[in-house]
């Protein structure tokens, strides 16, 4: 058996800004295998984004991993330098932020961010990188034309921005993709096409898909982990979690869904 791409061993995250540290993520244990899409669902505020931030080394200075370990491709995070982490992000680790507007650099065009990332991680020349960037946008069903390539983030619609963010996360074919609510701004016709693409590309990659949409989770994920109040309360294959949920919170979620 090959080692998992990602392993979280009792991950804890604390707020360290105040006089006393306050724990907001408790003992999260997860693995993501190569070729697997793990769905992370749960209550708003339950720690999905912060757990993902911890993996990508994106926690703000007011927050810290206070216990546990993160293994990426078998290597413990505590031995990875800040500089190495920066090189991994955007390269072997692709990250789709929940808030594309605030995570993009507002003064850079979509095209220039893509090209820079391809040049840096794939060591291609500007011209070749430009072609890769345009293909990446097309894959997301965005025109490579100036309307998108040359646009600043605020000039795109919410769903266009979200797809530009996906293009940026995927353009270097990462071995780990962490996508935080990547399709909330997409209408169902485009959403399905993007999900199909994530599924197609998932071979050889480990993916974490954070979503509140159980329909989406059920359609593309292999396993689902359910979080509530900073803890993983249930984890298992899709069919078990959606078909025969054990935890009261998961049952409540499924009930809310059938009322919609």
């Amino acid at each position: 058996m090959t080692a998992p791409i990602l392993e979280l061993q009792s991950l804890c995250i604390d707020v360290v800004a105040g006089p006393t540290a306050q724990r907001i993520v408790h003992d999260v244990v997860l693995t993501v295998a190569r070729g697997e899409i793990l769905g992370l669902v749960g209550e708003s505020g339950s720690g999905k984004t912060l757990s993902a931030f911890a993996v990508a080394g994106l926690l703000s200075e007011r927050l810290a991993v206070s216990a546990g370990e993160i293994l990426f491709e078998g290597r413990a995070r505590s031995f990875v330098s800040e500089e190495e982490m920066r090189a991994l992000r955007g390269g072997r680790i692709g990250f789709v932020f929940q808030d594309p507007l605030s995570s993009f650099n507002p003064v850079r065009t979509i095209g220039s961010m893509l090209v820079e990332s391809v040049v840096r991680h794939q060591r291609l020349g500007k011209r070749a990188a430009r072609a890769v960037a345009i293909a990446g946008l097309a894959e997301m069903r965005l025109p490579g034309s100036d309307a998108c390539f040359g646009a600043y983030p605020h000039q795109l619609s919410g769903g266009q921005r979200q797809r530009a963010m996906l293009a940026l996360a995927l353009v270097n074919r990462p071995s780990l993709l962490i996508a935080d609510e990547p399709t909330t701004a997409l209408d169902p016709t485009i959403q399905l096409q993007i999900l199909a693409l994530l599924r197609r590309q998932s071979e050889g990659r480990g993916s974490i898909l954070i979503t509140h949409d159980l329909g989406v989770a059920g359609a593309v994920c292999d396993r689902i982990a359910v979080m509530q109040k900073g803890r993983v309360v249930e984890i298992g294959p899709c069919s078990a979690i959606l078909g025969d949920p054990q935890h009261a919170y998961t049952q409540r979620l499924l009930q809310a869904r059938s009322h919609a």
Binding site: G45, G158, T184, H212, V220
Partner: protein, 270 residues
Amino acid sequence: MSLLSVEQLSVAYGRTTALRAASLQLAAGEILAVVGESGSGKSSLARAVAGLVKPHSGRITLDGSDLALRPRVERRAIQMVFQDPDASLNPRHTVRFILDEPLQILAYGPAAARAERIETLLRLVQLEPALLDRRPIALSGGQKQRVAIARALAMQPRVLLADEALSALDMSTQSTLLDLFASLRRETGIAILFISHDLAAVRRLADRVCVLYRGRVVEQGDCAQVLAAPQHPYTKLLVAATIDPARALQDPAFLARLADGVSVEEETMQ
């Protein structure tokens, strides 16, 4: 007479026309859903109604009078919840300040009354009072979205423009907020323009639905009727895509149809 009326509204950004001659009506207590392809002009419509972009042409009236000719303060009756909550929450302010500011503008009352009102607003959107002293950066995506909703409601608007306002919420919280919108319109007569990609939520909440495609209103009518018997090719695709996503993803022919989109012939047949 309708409370809000949008007549032949067009919105352009330089050479890009985002909305072309859109017309719609909203009565007090009514919920109109706006659905449509990504980039079809939904947010542009809402921003124009909120007075944040100047229409290229057309008219927006509230109680029958042209908003462009009325004093700015009358716009307070129209509040918007933005698709990106970060865009509307000042990162320097605490949640308490963010919610208190509209109450002060409204001259809601002394500090104690305002504090009580803030607590009520938090409860309505299912947020803990413990969040009051935090700034937006220390909130989760769904918490920010709910602060933005509470802030808009604090203004006691007559029209709420909700642009994907529930998109980051788990299903159980979303369900509570759908109930909140439904009871507000019953009790206060608030009118809601509910922009959403979530057809299940639209079905549950809206009276009527308006479908935008490439900047045009291509279909408008009773919500249940439109979703049960869609007429425009885009609406048909949209409804088909939501029936069973898991199955759709296993169906290459259907995915190919989605990728083709709406052909020019189909569109001109309308």
